[in-house]
């Protein structure tokens, strides 16, 4: 079993968001970067569980500049045999997906895993793009993944429920809650991560399909209007006549 886990570098959940260069660029100053939580908690940990049980290897892949090595080492500390960094410098989904798909095609992976989306651009795009570029099935928003005898069974979230699907051969899966429990790296893992192989690969060309023109922060929220717990009629009237939502 050969599994490729795609990780993205994102600002920590609690980061205060601001922009620079006329609101065209995310302000990275003093920002703490982490491995995208869905990639780490669900995709990576489930990949490790599967290979721990039935053998195989887990490779981590990231697309980005040398700065990203820090979060790649962090992911390696949780587990995984080795890592690949495609030395590109674009956040665009199609660019990232092209790099990963082109690399994955040459390596014979059984499963390519991503998180359900990144917490910065929230696109939920890269997994589907990789699958299309590789010409393989894509199961999005999976909350379970079990592999047995060359067949994988997955539960995929749909509106108000789930779907159970089976797939044979190589596939791409985007992972969400339910897949696995987050693991905290131990000292041995952190030490071992320093010497695990991290291969740097040159990027391939990919057309630019979109560009962000500007970022905007939402207008400040008006102060909350407090209503007495004894006067629910007033709350209902406000919702009806002022907010007009009921």
């Amino acid at each position: 079993m050969k599994i490729l886990v795609c990780i993205s570098k994102v600002p920590d959940t609690t980061t205060k968001i601001s922009f620079i260069d006329n609101d065209t660029k995310f302000n990275e100053d003093k920002v703490q970067f982490i491995v995208n939580p869905y990639d780490e908690w669900y995709a990576l940990v489930r990949a490790l569980e599967i290979t721990e049980k039935q053998g195989g290897t887990v490779t981590i892949i990231n697309v980005g500049p040398a700065d990203n090595d820090q979060i790649i080492r962090k992911a390696l500390a949780i587990g995984a045999n080795d890592a690949v960094r495609i030395d590109g410098n674009s956040n665009e989904s199609f660019y990232v997906a092209t790099q990963i798909a082109e690399y994955a095609k040459t390596q014979g992976y059984n499963i390519v895993m991503t998180g359900k989306e990144t917490i910065d651009y929230n696109g939920a795009e890269v997994g589907g793009m990789i699958a299309e570029l590789m010409g393989v099935p894509y199961i999005s928003h999976a909350s379970t993944l079990d592999v047995e005898g060359g067949k994988a069974t997955l539960k995929r979230s749909i509106e108000g429920g789930y779907e159970t699907v089976e797939v044979t051969g190589t596939f791409v899966v985007s992972c969400q809650k339910g897949m696995a429990e987050a693991r905290i790296p131990n000292m041995r893992g952190i030490m071992a991560a320093r010497t695990k192989p991290l291969t740097v690969v040159a990027p391939v060309n990919a057309a630019q399909l979109t560009s962000v023109k500007t970022f905007t922060l939402p207008p400040a929220k008006a102060a909350v209007k407090m209503v007495s717990p004894d006067n629910m009629t007033e709350l209902v009237n406000l919702l009806h006549t002022e907010a007009k939502v009921i």
């Binding site: 980061t15 922009f19 199609f94 929230n122 099935p137 979230s157 962000v212 209007k225 209902v236 939502v245």
Partner: protein
């Protein structure tokens, strides 16, 4: 030239989020001076009615290979339909099917994608700029699509439908899926079907509760409140994790992100991870006995009080309003 909208169905009926996408697609078509064409697969519905939402034409695919959801096959079918309709823009709803299809189609057609769009395109200066939420709702990005063909997936509940009396012309479309060997098999579809209640991502009114309810046996009043309003119930992460409520009700960063018109949060403190899933709600009401609960900062209306006293009063007040209207 046209704007093609993929209209997804549940049990043959077009989903609400797809009706929004059709209406949105028809507005995009007017901006571009062209027509909106809806694409529907394996539906026995009266598809001429999609004209109500702005489609001038409906392409109808009937194909057994598309009976269950296989994004690989369906993307190929949509690409063929887009080609045949001369579509410059393809629109999806940003839901569980649209997320799989839009990304695949984007890679297949090398067409720029804005996923989770919340606005019509702005065509100023020859651009095609569409707004979407980023950083889990903490900012917006205006994204310019640079390619000739464009793909948009529309965030549910961000573009209300307006129905007219128009009808659409319905034409059969045959997709050739012979060249694709998909290994995906859907074994089971399990959808909780609370009758008449919208599934969470589509719901306009949501009543949500958290650990403040003290136990699953106390959810009766939450369900009663939802029933009076015709709202969908949701819950916070800890509540789903302990098993008080099913996982598909969990809203927040690791659960579902929603943007209803009204979100009533009862006994939920409002951690940043919860807010990430609900901060796009148009109006937020927070009921919590702790006046320091962080959720009040994100709320439009707040009530400091014990849920067990406040909620029954709120139910009565809603009932009175309903009786008077």
């Amino acid at each position: 030239m046209s704007v093609l909208i993929y209209a997804d169905t549940i049990n043959g009926k077009v989903k609400k989020s797809s009706l929004e996408a059709i209406h949105y697609g028809s507005k995009v078509a007017s901006l571009l001076g062209t027509n909106a064409v809806a694409l529907v697969v394996n539906s026995s519905d009266n598809l001429a009615e999609l004209g109500k939402y702005g489609a001038t034409k409906v392409l109808k695919i009937t194909n057994d290979k598309l009976n269950s959801f296989d994004p690989q096959l369906l993307t190929a079918a949509i690409a063929q339909a887009a080609n045949s309709a001369g579509a410059k823009v393809v629109v999806f709803a940003h839901d569980s099917t649209g997320k799989s299809l839009a990304s695949r189609l984007s890679a297949r057609s090398k067409a720029g994608l804005v996923s989770g769009a919340t606005s019509l395109p702005n065509l100023d200066g020859g651009n095609f700029t569409v707004r979407k939420n980023v950083f889990s709702g903490k900012a917006y990005a205006d994204v310019n699509i640079l390619t000739d063909e464009k793909i948009i997936s529309l965030m549910p509940n961000s573009f209300p439908v307006v129905a007219t009396d128009a009808t659409a012309e319905v034409a059969d479309f045959s997709a050739d899926l012979s060249g694709i060997n998909s290994t995906l098999v859907v074994k089971e579809v399990n959808r909780a079907s609370a009758s008449g209640v919208a599934p969470l991502p589509e719901a306009e009114l949501v009543v949500s509760a958290g650990r403040g309810m003290k136990g699953p046996e106390n959810w009766g009043m939450i369900e009663d409140l939802a029933k009076v309003l015709g709202a969908t119930t949701a819950c916070s992460r800890p509540v789903a994790d302990i098993g008080w409520r099913p996982h598909h009700e969990h809203v927040g960063q690791t659960g579902i992100a929603i943007r209803p018109n009204l979100y009533i949060a009862i006994g939920i403190s409002g951690a940043i991870q919860h807010l990430a899933g609900v901060n796009q709600s148009k109006v937020i009401v927070v009921i919590n006995k702790d006046p320091e609960a962080p959720f009040f900062k994100a709320a439009d209306y707040g009530v400091v009080g014990d849920a067990f006293e406040v909620v029954p009063k709120l139910i009565e007040a809603f009932k009175t309003l309903k009786a008077n209207n």
